[in-house]
Amino acid sequence: MSTLTQQDTFQGLFAAAPENFLSIRTLGKESFLSQGLPAVKAEEYKFTNLSKKLENAIKSFSPALSFEITDSQVKSALFDGFEGDVLVFVNGLFLPELSSSIEGIEVAKLSEKPEAALGSIAKASKDPFAALNQASFADGIFISVPKKANIEKPILLLSFNKENVGQVIQPRIWIEVGDFAEVTFLDQSISLNDSSYFINKVVEIKGGVNSQINYYRLQNESKNTIEVSNIETDIQKDAKFTSVNISLSGDMVRNNLSLNLLGSNSEGNMFGVYLLNGKTHVDNHTNVDHTIPHAESNELYKGILADQSRGVFNGKIFVRQDAQKTNAFQQNNNILLSEDAIVNTKPQLEIWADDVKCSHGCTVGQLDEEALFYLQARGIDKTSAKGLLLYAFAGEVLEKIEEESFRNHVVNLIQERLGSKF
C-alpha cells in the first residue's frame, strides 16, 4: 500500500484545517479516509497515477500560506484588452483588498459565509481529492449573482501560486447564479516559481432557472505543477452552462468536470483543447448527467500531443431512465506529433432511457499530408504550414470562447506555441 494512503501523511493538512464548517469537514475527512488515494488500478485513475506522482514529488503535506503581492503584479498579469473585474487569489486564498468590488454581486470569503452548502454539488464521496479539499481547505470564496442580474463584464478569477515542495494549495470556490442571471467567469492561474507544488481545487457552481453561465479556464502553469480540479455544476430548467478548458502546461493535470442537468430544456456545453509538449500529462474526465427529459449536451475536446506528453480523455454521458428526449453529443479528436506521445481516450455512454439521441466519436490521427503539401506548394514553409493546420484544428474549440480579450489571449498563446515548438 502506498504510504500516501496512510493517515499520517495528511495529518498536517487535517490538523491545520480551520474550525469552521465542522460537520462538512468531518464528512470530507471520513470520505477521504474511506476512499484513500486512488490505487494503481483504480478505473477512474487508470492512466493517471497521481498517487505515485504525489509520493515521488511530495513527501508530506502541509497547507500553503498566503504571501504578499502588489497591485502592479496584478495589473501586469492581465491580458491585453481585458475589461472586467478581477478577483485575486494567492495560493488559493482570496484577497479582497486587491480585488475589484463588483457592482451587483456579492463576494465574500467562505469563512464569512458559514451557510454555504459546500460539498452539496461536488460530493466528497465521488472523488478522493474533492473529499480531501472538503476536509482541509483553508479558506475560499463565495460568489453570489442575484436573480435577473446581467453581468456584462467578465469576472476574472486570477490566482497567483508560489510555494515550496510539499505545500498543498486548495482553492475552494462556491458560485451561485440566480434565476435569469447571466455571467461569465475566466479562470487563470499564474505560477511565480517552478517548484513542484500540488493544487487541489474544487469549484461548485449552482445555476438557477434560465441562468446563463460561462466558465472559461486557462491552465498554463509551471512545468512542475501537479493539479487536480473538481469542477461541478448543477443547472436548472432552461439554464445554459458552457465550459471551455484550455490546458497548455503542467506536470500532471487532472480535470474532473461534471455537469448535472436538473431541469428540462437545460443545455450543457463542454469544450476543451489540450496542447501539450515535454512530459506534460493532462487527463480530462468529464461527466454529464442527464436526469430529466428534454435536455441537451454537447462536448468537444481536441488534443495535440508532442514530445513525450500524454493526453487522457474520458467523457461520460449518463442518461437516466427518466431522461427521455435527451440529445447528447460527444466528440474527442487527437493529433499525435511524436513517437513518444500517448493518447488514451474513452468516450463512454451509459444510457438507461430509450427515446434519446446520443452519439459519440473519437479519432486519433496525424496531420493530413495532402493539406501540408498543398500549403508547402504555395511557398509556406513546413513549420508554418504545420502550425497553421494545427491551429485550424484547435480553432473549432477556440471560437466557442465568446469573451474576446480572453479568446485573443488564448489564441496568441497557442499560436506562439505552434510557431516555435511544433
Partner: protein, 481 residues
Amino acid sequence: MSKDNQILEELTSKEYEHGWSVDYEADEAPAGLNEDIIRWISAKKEEPEWLLDWRLKAFRTWQNMSEPEWANVHYPKVDFQALKYYSAPKQAKKPKNLDEVDPELIAIYERLGISLNEQKRLQGIAVDAVLDSVSVATTFKDTLGKLGIIFCSFSEAVKEHPELVKKYLGSVVPMTDNYYAALNSAVFSDGSFCYIPKGVRCPMELSTYFRINAANTGQFERTLIVADESSYVSYLEGCTAPQRDENQLHAAVVEIYAASHAEVKYSTVQNWFPGDKEGKGGIFNFVTKRGICAGDHSKISWTQVETGSAVTWKYPSCILKGDYSIGEFYSVAVTNNYQQADTGTKMIHIGKNTKSRIVSKGISAGKSQNSYRGQVQVMKRADNARNFSQCDSLLMGDRCGAHTFPYIDINNPTAKVEHEATTSKIGEDQIFYCNQRGIATEDAVALIVNGYAKEVLNQLPMEFAVEAQKLLALTLEGSVG
C-alpha cells in the same frame, strides 16, 4: 395468408424453442471442485501426464484469483463447489463411425435441426457435436482427412496429435489470462480441435454444436484452431441449452492461431437459454475468445450473433502481431427481458501496417442491459495502424439500457483510429411508414431490426444468416408496446 406471414406467425408465437431436455444415462463427476476432481476428469479422458500437470497448474493459479467485477453485469455469485464439472452420455465404447453412435444422441441433434448423417447432405458442413462435456460425433472426417485437415474432438486431438496440442494450447489464451480462462484450463472437458495444413483452403464450413443437457453442470469446452501458412477456414459455432430454473455456467475458451497469409473466419450464433420472462434461470456465458495473427498478412474475422444467455461476458479479440495482418469483429447482441450482455472486442496492434475493423450493433429491449466494451490498442512499433470502430445501439422500451465503454490507447503517431457510436430508438416515422403499408408493428420492428443488423448478418455464412435472422425476430418478440 402468404408464406412469409406464416413464417412470421410461427416465429412470433414461439418462445425459446430449444428448452427441452432429454434423459439419457450419463456418466457424471460428483459435484465440487478440487484437485481430485481434476485428476478424475483427466484420468477419465485418459490424458497424458503433461496435460494433467497443466490443468493442476491452472487450478492452483485460479484458486488465487478473484472473480472479476468490472463488467457492467449483475448476477448471483456462482457456487463453484455446487457444480458438476463433467457429464458425459454413457456409451459402451467409443464409436468408430456414425452408425455406432447411440441413436438417442443422434436424435437429440436431429431435434435441434442438425443432421449428423452425412448421406443426407450432398455437401455442406462438417459438424463436431458436443453434448455436455464430450464430443459425440464428428462428421466428414475422412473427406477432410484427405486434404490433411485435422478436425476432431479435443480429447481425440490430445491422443492423436499431442505435438500440435502441446505447441498451441494456451499459446493465445494463457492459463492465467483471467478468472474464467484459468477455471476452464483446469477443468475443460472437451471441445473441438482443428488444424489446417499449409496452403489448404478448407472446402467446407467446419462447425461445432454445443448442447448443455444435464442439470447442475457447467460446460467448459475448449476450441483450438490452428491455420498454417496460406490456409483458409471458416468455422461456425452454435449452442443451445434446456430451459431450467437455475442458472448454468458456460465458461469456454477459444484460441485461434493464424500463421502468415492464413485466414480464419469464426462465426457464432449464440442461443443459450436466456432465462424466462421474469429473468429466472438462464445460462451465464463467460467466454474467453482470442485469436492471434502471428504471421504477416494473416487475417482473423469474428462474427457473432448473441441472442441467448442470461448474462454474457465475452470479448472475442485479435492480437495483430504479424505485419499487414487484419482483425475484424462483427457483432449483433440482442438482449430482451432481464438479459444482460457485456460484450465487445480487443484489437491489439503490434505489427506494422495492421488493420482492424469493429462493427458492433447492440439491441436492447424489455428490462435488459446491453454494453459494448472494447479496446483498441496501438503499440509503439505498430506503424501505420488503422482502426475503424462503429458501435450502434438500438433501444426498445424505456426500461432497458445501452452502454458504451470504448478504450482507445494510442502510442504511435502514424496510427489512424476512428470510433463512432450512436444510440437511438426505432423511429416512430419508420414504424408509421410500415404500418401505412399494412405491416403490423411487430413485423415492422423485426424488419427494421434486421435492416439495422444487416451489415453484420451479411458476414455470416448463408445457413447461419437465415437462422440468425429468425432468431433476431424471435428474441424481440413481444418487446413492442
